[in-house]
Every structure is written in C-alpha cells, then in structure tokens.
C-alpha cells in the first residue's frame, strides 16, 4: 500500500512534465493540423541548453528556462517559416516527414556539438527529497511538476485571454473563417509552432534535471508524446494532460507493482482499447465527416 501510493506520487509528478511537453504538440496540431515529430528533439535541445548553462555558467536549470524557452521559440519560429510554410500546400502529408527531418537534423547538430555521451545535470539538491507522511518526494520532480503546471496555466490564459490566443483558436476552428476575420494565418501558425517549441524548451530544462539524456533520447520521447496525444484526443489540451498522467501513472505503477520490463506496455494496450472503443481519443471531438 505504501509502495502503491509512493508510485502514484512519482507517477503524477512525472505526468505533469509530460503534460507540458505534450501541450506543445497539441497546440501545433490544433493550429496547423500537423504532427510535430521534432517536439521530442526540441525537449532534448532544452535539456542541453540547461546542461550548458549549468556546467559553464553555473546557472540553475530552473532559471535556465528563461533562456531555453525564448531560444526554442526562435528556433521553432524560424523552422516553421523556412521549412514548413513552403510545404503547406500538402502539409497533411509532407509535414510528418519534414518535422522528422528537423528532428534528425537537430539530433545530428546536437551530437556534433555535445557528442553522444549520456549527460546529466547534477545540482546540489539533485538527490534530496522531502519526506511527507513517510513518502519520499524528490525535490527536483516536485519543483518540475509545480513549474510545469504553472506554465500550463500560463498557456491556458494566453490562449483564452489574449488576441493571439483568439486568432489561434480561430485558425484551429477553420482556416478560411480565420482568414475572413482578418487573422494572418501564416503568422499565427509560425507563432503557434514557436510557442509549441518554447514549451518543449521549458520542459526540456526540467527533463534534463530529472533524467539523463543524449541526442538520441528524442526517439523515446516523441513515441510517448504521440501516444499521449492519441489517447487523450488530438488537439485537446485536457486530453494531453489526462493522457500524460495516465502514461506516467501506469508506468510507475506497473514498475512498482508488477515488472518494470513491461512498464510501458499497459499504456499502449490502453491506447488500443481506447482506439477500439473511442477512436477519437478520450477528450477528442469527432472530426465532422467530410460533408
């Protein structure tokens, strides 16, 4: 029982971080109707930025978010402008490969700069943990969780309260409609893609803190993030959060209660069940039949 709760705590803490990573995917899908296969590598970039700042300038990884976020935004914005905009005529087919190319290219660049060794960020509080009612709560994970939630809330406000948010939603409703409302869809798309990358940047700094990584780490990441999207329902923020928590929970539970070897399997099984029972995902809205 104690173990179970311990596992649940760890699961939820990790889930928060995944939710943040996924929210970026959701945003780009919502606005541009494309899956950003590079989200994983964006996260890894964020981790390397935090790693560099920490090792050479001794900046705390949590502070380095202030650098990684705008930096990744810039990268995302640029990539969208130069690589994705030109192919928007056939985006729904080409974007997958294009973003994948970005992912591999960035992986190459990262390996070129940092080599392919595993890296970890070792802060003074790396291994400390709070003991609450007999449960060990790792400080880094707790902080990462809280910060992720905070950023998610921030994003939510950004999307609901601001003009940018309105145009994003307009675009995601129907591009033609948005055009009528005088929304610059290209610009919005670029901003949205940049913002998606930015969330990865923020999440990445924390990812680097809670687990070690190498340039190839993005393969595992993107696999998980995509699965989270589907189970939650593509383009649904609530779904992204739910999916993330489900993933992390099921993993840590199975790890603790059954066997770590199978830790990820129940999630994918669940994914399949969801698809059979409810193809659009838990929170997905039915995509209106093409009538």
């Amino acid at each position: 029982m104690h173990l179970l709760i311990q596992a649940i705590i760890l699961g939820i803490l990790t889930g928060g971080l995944y939710a943040l990573m996924t929210s970026g995917l959701t945003l780009t899908f919502g606005t541009m109707r494309i899956i950003n296969m590079a989200q994983g590598v964006f996260v890894v970039c964020g981790a390397y930025i935090a790693f560099t700042l920490f090792n050479y300038l001794h900046i705390d990884p949590f502070l380095s978010i202030l650098v990684s976020t705008p930096l990744l935004f810039a990268i995302g914005f640029t990539l969208q402008t130069f690589l994705l905009k030109p192919i928007r005529h056939d985006a729904h087919r080409l974007s997958l490969l294009m973003t994948w190319a970005m992912a591999i290219g960035l992986e190459g660049i990262l390996s070129f700069i940092f080599g392919t060794d595993f890296r970890g960020i070792l802060t003074s509080y790396q291994n400390s943990s709070w003991t609450i009612a007999g449960y060990e709560i790792p400080v880094v994970r707790a902080l990462a969780f809280l910060l992720s939630v905070a950023i998610l809330v921030g994003m939510f406000l950004l999307l609901t309260r601001t003009k940018f948010g309105r145009s994003v939603r307009a675009v995601s409703q129907r591009e033609s409609a948005a055009k009528l409302l005088g929304v610059n869809t290209d610009r919005t798309a670029a901003l949205a893609f940049g913002l998606g990358a930015a969330t990865a940047g923020a999440a990445g700094a924390m990812f680097g803190l809670v687990s070690s990584f190498d340039p190839a780490s993005h393969y595992d990441l993107i696999g998980r993030l995509l699965a989270i999207c589907v189970i939650g329902g593509l383009g649904s923020n609530a779904g992204a959060i739910a999916g993330a928590v489900i993933l992390a929970l099921s993993e840590s539970l199975v790890q603790a209660e059954f066997s770590p070897a199978w830790s990820s399997v129940p999630f994918y099984v669940l994914l399949i069940i969801v698809l059979i029972a409810r193809p659009r995902g838990l929170f997905g809205v039915r995509t209106r039949g093409a009538i």
Binding site: L83, I87, G223, L234, A261, A290
Partner: protein, 334 residues
Amino acid sequence: MLAVLALFPFSGAESWIVNIGIFTLMYAVLGSAWNLIGGYTGYVSLGSVAFFGLGAYGLALTFQHIGIGSGFLPFALVPIIGIAVAIVSLPIGWIAFRTRGLPFIIVTISLVIILQYMALNLTDVTGGAPGLQVPQAPFPPGTYEEYFYWAMLVVFALTLLACAYVRRSRLGLMMFAVREDEDKARGLGVATSVPKYAAFAGCAAFSAMAGAVWAYYLSTVYPQFAFDGEFLAMGIILVAYLGGIGTLWGPFVGALILTPAQQYFAYSLGGSQLYLIAYAAVFIVVMLFLPRGVVTTIADRALRRSRRRKQAVEELATAESESARDTPAPVAAR
C-alpha cells in the same frame, strides 16, 4: 527492366556491390509495399516496419523451433511467412482503420513500439535483447550475396506485380477512390473496407518477406534493429516520396538513389555526426523541391506538355470551357 536487374550480378559486379544491391532492393520492396497503403490508398502508415520485423522474427523463430537446414529451404519459407504475417495484419488493421489521417499514423507508430517491447520482453519466445541467431547459409563466399540478391529480387518482382495489378484493376480503382475522398467513395457504392484491408495486408505481406530475407542474410535478429521505428520507418517513406508516391517504379527509383548514397555516406564520411545532418538535408531538399517525387515530376512535365497542346485547341473549340474556367474549382472538403 526486371531482366536487367536479374542479370546485374553477372555484370562482373563484385560481391560488395551486390551487397548494396540487396539493400537497395530491400528498400525498393519496402517502399513499393508501403505504396500500396500509403501511396494508392492514402493511409500514411509507419506500420511497414512492424511487419518487416515480424517477417525477420518469423524466419529466425522457424529456425529455432523447426530445424530447416540452412540452404535454399529458408527461401521457400519466405512466401509462407509473408502470408502468415498478412493474416496477422488483418486484426491489427481492424484497430488501425478505426482512425484516419494523423491518428492513423500515430497508431501505426505505436504498433511498432509495442512490437519492439514484445520482442524485448517475451524473452522465452524472442530471446529478448540478446536477439536470435540464424545459421549462416553454406553458399560459397564468392557468390554468397547473389542468392540473397535474387531472393530479394523475386520478392521485389512479386511486389511490383501486385502494384501493377492494383493499378489496372477494379481493386486499385477502389483504393484510389478511398485515397481521393473516402466519404464520397462510400456514396458511390464502394465497399471501402475491401481496398483498405487489401492494401494493409498486401503491404504487410511484402514487408514481411523482405524482413525474412534480410534476417537470413544478416543471420542475426535484434529487437531494436528488426523493429527500427527510427531510420527504417522513415527511410521507407522517404524512398517512396523521393521516387514519387503512387507511381509504379517510384519507390524503386527512390531506393536506387537513396540506399547506395546512404551506405556510401556512412562508409566514407560517417566519421563525424555530419552523416545525420546530411541525411536530414536529403529529406528537406526532397520535401522542398521534389515534393511529388522524381518519377511523378518527370511524368507530369511530359503530360503537361502534351496537355497544353490539346488545351490550345479546346480554347477555341468551346466558349464554355472559357467562361467556366473563370470559376475555379474549390478544393475538396478534406
């Protein structure tokens, strides 16, 4: 054309060239097989790799459990494995086809991930991470590659045959209809599930056959290489796109350009991470400048030339076509 390929080994090509030929054909098979589902039916799938891996493990496992020598017999096994995997693919298709478009892509990715997990963890069956060993074929080193080359060529021929059949048959017409506008097709009495499952199973069968030959040639199978969702999966689609999706020879042309180039890059300039960057660069160039692929682009140019001549005549022929061209056709709803 196939004859040219069949004679290729006799052209005094050394075994290292034949070796590259094998992998080129492998990608040609995988690309063409992918074309069935992704190119003709319009369901972009990353599942091919899953079936490739199943084929590879299928062969290795048969070796483990039934002692089938290590001569030519395993080749005879290849088509059986193909059929078996095709059957296995049907229930998988049933799940995957509950989604469309992007969710479908993701489902197929998950499929690869799940299978890799199983290969890693069902240790009793798959041997887990240490993988499975396949005895080496007792062929003389000088001509060792050629047998695998021809085996792969036969698989390729079969794949090509299937594609050719599809392109001229009712079934293919239904596939195209599904690709163009699935809902409209339903409204025209097309039983859309028939072409969808046919394409999915076909893709599975041929991918599996390629996987089986590959496994026998390398004579080792590891989970992370058999279910390589990273390079293999995307490589397949890239090959198809580079050549031109939906065309008969496109994937082959794509493989012919890409595979030797890739193998050569890694062999010579792999010394740095530039290899990955170069690979990505190829991707991007293709997407930006040849989004419709080599074959399609060339074909289109030829077509448009002849079309333009026709048009000129029509312009005069009917006032109708004139006035009607003023109202541009709106893009299809989906």
